[in-house]
Symmetry: C2
Subunit: 225 residues, 2 copies
């Protein structure tokens, strides 16, 4: 089958990244929903190595790993706004921070969810908070809202915005779990503004599930230990 | 200072990747040797987040993480042979397998080195062997020596060749440590040929340290547990 299909599940931060990239490029696609805990035949055939979502199927070819898919989308659908920066150094910097987010964010969120007791929970929340404080610096260094650049990628959502933004729903869910603000007016004021702009963007609207929905999903499906 | 400087240390598989990419593009560079266990001021300033080698300094800007640096080199020095495939799908595939190697290879090599007893050592060696058997399939699917394509990247060394090839020295060192062949005539005959061609390439000659040198380095510098 020609065309574009996304194998995914709505709560996945990695799937959200791909949905946003597809929306940014105004690409029509079919969403093939995976049920948590099961593997569809399509998924097993398309990503036999990791058996993980998301997978993008484009013209019968499977592309795996969210950040690789986002780059693929940007490279195939070249008309319109570019998701990756055009300058090689800016591109390297965006890739560096996206990899940093991948290394820190998912593991800290899982640790927070699986924490035994308040101390462990707080330690994981602090790791997330430290990550966000560092990204606040990156944002301030690279962007200026005064100059009209509201995103890491400039005046439009780019690669690093997508990499971090995919996690926004789960970061809000984490805030509920620890009763503590991770995005905070004192330490991360710019990122707070960024998050508002990101969520309000047309490419993002309706893509990130509500906090309660994510918490419900975690309770129902995710392993407890 | 303008120009190109590589902060590294010869035994690092990640530094080797960058050296090969620089050689492929015939780029003159200064090598700034890090002493294991110490951090130079230049390294701390250039990669404050991870404090890790390699770092490429180009026109006073620091680029970190080996695979990001290789992509940067390919994007900045565009004349001559391209390191990444030109087709977006082939590029996504090369990125996928390079990430797979990064996930499996270093951790399995460390586990093998730190193994307590023969069983642990063998388990780690088997993980490396499984990785290579899978990459043999990838090589056979994508390349054909009969058609003159001796590398993952085609008839010349490309991104995935560099990603795996950076580890060749340590894979040979691991073979010595477990007295077992990881590249094997029966299960990975194509990769054996690939490894010979890779090491004989002008861009690689002299870059990968000898096995004994690596074993000596591991004994002297790397943590024992």
């Amino acid at each position: 089958m020609a065309g574009v299909k996304l194998i995914g599940a709505r709560p996945s931060p990695f799937v959200i990244r791909v949905e946003i990239a597809l929306n940014l490029k105004s690409i029509d696609y079919e969403f093939s929903e995976e049920i948590y805990g099961c593997f569809s035949k399509l998924l097993l055939k398309s990503n036999p190595v990791h058996k993980k979502i998301p997978v993008l199927i484009h013209d019968d070819k499977a592309i795996c790993e969210s950040l690789i898919i986002v780059q693929y989308i940007d490279e195939v659908w070249t008309s319109g706004h570019s998701i990756l920066p055009s300058d090689p150094y800016d591109r390297a910097t965006a890739r560096f921070w996206a990899a940093y987010i991948d290394e820190k964010c998912f593991s800290s969120l899982s640790e927070l969810r699986l924490a035994k007791g308040e101390n462990e929970k707080l330690a994981a929340a602090n790791r997330l908070f430290e990550m966000l404080v560092l990204l606040e610096e990156v944002f301030v260094d690279n962007c200026s809202t005064e100059g009209g650049k509201g995103f890491f990628g400039g005046d439009k959502i780019g690669y690093l915005d997508i990499a971090l933004g995919g996690f926004l729903g789960w970061l809000k869910a984490a805030e509920k779990l620890v009763s503590m603000k991770l995005l905070d007016e004192k330490r991360t004021p710019e990122l707070m503004g960024w998050a508002e702009r990101f969520i309000a963007d047309n490419a993002v609207k309706g893509v990130i599930p509500e906090t309660e929905e994510l918490l419900e999903f975690a309770k129902k499906y995710l392993p407890k230990a």
